[in-house]
């Protein structure tokens, strides 16, 4: 089964699919007695077309802020975001899909209507909408639940509804914010396989935020390790995995080396973040 191949605007050779240039984010203080919170950056990042990139970092390091800036949901305080050669300025560009950490399914719509939501907003005709929704539901193993409401599903299935809702729009850049955070370990591995299959079939560029080092190591071409707040990239780890891969890679000797390197980069930062929260 394949989803329609991604056909984005042509990019010049060597140009990044999406890029952050000197991006920072400073939150203004809640009241005058407090200092502004420097949450992120400066961050530079080039995502190649079709790359699977993961971001790991200690809690509170600005990972989600980075994702929202890249998605155009938040504006950077300084710096520039570029997607397919055009600047992104505080409003989401076409071709970017986001799967959020929290349950974003709409409880008032059936699973089918949830997945059809974006297509209907975009004015896609009914036959095409039905074709794509049925396909996405099958792909995510939700075919038997089309008429159920989200409240009748488990947390993992609701997250799959949200992934399907993003996929039907055939985004060229998919941003995932700890999408499997609420799932158990076995389900995470299987969902990881699904994600790899989807990535191969669509050719989309993926940015995955995760706190699970093994998840990042198993799925990604390249992993960015972020420092404690204000988040900056302190290490870039290329895994060198083949494009054809799945969760059995966790048994590979190189897998252990990747996770070990991630942890050695991250350990000191995680301790800092832990100390900072006390």
């Amino acid at each position: 089964m394949t989803l329609a191949a991604v056909a984005g605007p042509g990019l010049r050779a060597g140009e990044a699919h999406a890029a952050l240039r000197g991006v920072t984010r400073v939150f203004p203080p809640a009241d005058r007695r407090q200092a502004p919170v420097h949450a992120l950056g400066p961050v530079d990042l080039d995502l190649a077309r079709g790359e699977f990139f993961a971001v790991v970092g200690p809690s509170g390091c600005g990972k989600s802020t980075l994702l929202e800036i890249l998605a155009g949901l938040a504006a950077p305080t300084e710096g520039e975001v570029v997607f397919e050669g055009a600047p992104v300025r505080g409003s989401p560009p076409d071709g970017v899909g986001v799967v959020f950490q929290e349950d974003a399914s709409f409880p008032w719509l059936t699973v089918w209507d949830n997945v059809a939501f974006g297509l209907r907003r975009a004015g896609t005709d009914a036959a095409e909408t039905a074709r794509r929704v049925d396909h996405a539901l099958g792909f995510m193993g939700l075919a038997g639940f089309a008429r159920a409401y989200p409240a009748q599903l488990s947390g993992g299935m609701r997250q799959r509804v949200c992934i399907a809702r993003t996929l039907v729009l055939e985004p060229r850049l998919i941003l995932l914010d700890e999408p499997f955070g609420a799932l158990d370990q076995q389900t995470r591995l299987l969902m990881g396989d699904e994600l790899l299959r989807l990535w191969r079939d669509t050719g989309a560029t993926i940015l995955l935020i995760t706190h699970a080092l093994d998840e990042a190591a198993m799925l990604s071409d390249r992993i960015g390790v972020m420092s404690a707040r204000p988040g900056r990239f302190i290490d870039m780890v290329a895994t060198g995995w083949p494009r054809e891969r799945d969760s059995t890679i966790v048994a590979d000797a190189a897998f252990g080396e990747v996770t070990a390197r991630l942890w050695s980069s991250l350990r000191a930062e995680s301790l800092k973040a832990l100390g900072g929260e006390r």
Partner: protein, 251 residues
């Protein structure tokens, strides 16, 4: 039917039967209360003769107008106030103390402004219901998940469609509180206004029957109001329960 449903019916039937027995036995003066069966018979007669149909039509249409205006207006005002946090902070204490004002004191003013018509009656019903709806809307909008609004922004929805397609359905469980209060307040506002100053409507008809010592007619009309309010509320309750079950929120 559930066990609770049977108990509910038993309580209502028991109370009606007790009233029937005590009035029939003469323990309660028939000039004070007539037996429920006599009320029902009088109501059937009134409806069959068509004598009160114009009053029913007038009252129910006024109630419907007051209800629609309070729910629609309350939701819109709630949206506007919610979008302006500073205005909301300024209004909060006024909204909280609103129901301390006895609106009926404004009746003379409303007559001066709107004249002797249905309009002042509808306005009173509206004034009664609208603030309950505003408060329910604000509560509901406060609880719209932020992530749902992010999904709306990714779908590049404008503020109006975000309000109608995302905020409204997300807030529905809280809006129901306001809608149910708006029904009750619309009935109270309209019927009470008809009592004090109107030449038609159920409130007026009850006052008229009372002044003429026409107990069967008075109680028949009271029974009609009771039954219609209960019916409307049960329909709303049914909708609400179905909505809550779908969302996994029912007890």
């Amino acid at each position: 039917m559930t066990r609770a449903g049977w108990i509910r019916i038993a309580i209502v039937l028991g109370a009606v039967a007790a009233l029937e027995v005590t009035t029939r036995a003469g323990w309660i003066d028939p000039h004070t209360i007539i037996p429920p069966t006599a009320m029902a018979a009088a109501l059937a007669g009134l409806i069959a003769s068509g004598a009160i149909l114009p009053d029913i039509a007038k009252t129910l249409s006024n109630v419907a107008a007051a209800f629609v205006l309070s729910v629609g207006g309350g939701f819109l005002l709630g949206l506007l106030i919610h979008a302006a946090p500073r205005l909301r902070r300024a209004l909060d204490p006024l909204l909280a103390t609103y129901y301390a004002v006895p609106f009926f004191v404004f009746y003379p003013l409303l007559i001066v402004v709107f004249g002797m018509s249905d309009l002042p009656i509808i306005v009173i019903g509206f004034l009664f219901g609208v603030v309950a709806m505003i408060i329910a809307t604000l509560n509901g909008l406060d609880r719209v998940p932020r992530v749902a609004l992010k999904v709306a922004r990714l779908a590049r929805m404008d503020p109006v469609s975000t309000a109608l397609v995302i905020k409204f359905p997300a807030a529905v469980p809280h809006l129901f509180t306001g809608i149910k209060l708006a029904v009750a307040y619309s009935f109270i506002g309209v019927i009470a206004s008809e009592f004090i100053l109107s030449g038609a409507g159920l409130g007026y008809a009850i006052a008229y029957a009372y002044n003429n010592f026409d107990n069967p007619r008075m109680y028949a009309l009271m029974l009609f109001i009771l039954v219609s309010v209960t019916a409307v509320n049960m329909v709303l309750h049914g909708f609400e329960q179905r909505m809550l079950r779908r969302r996994g929120l029912s007890r």
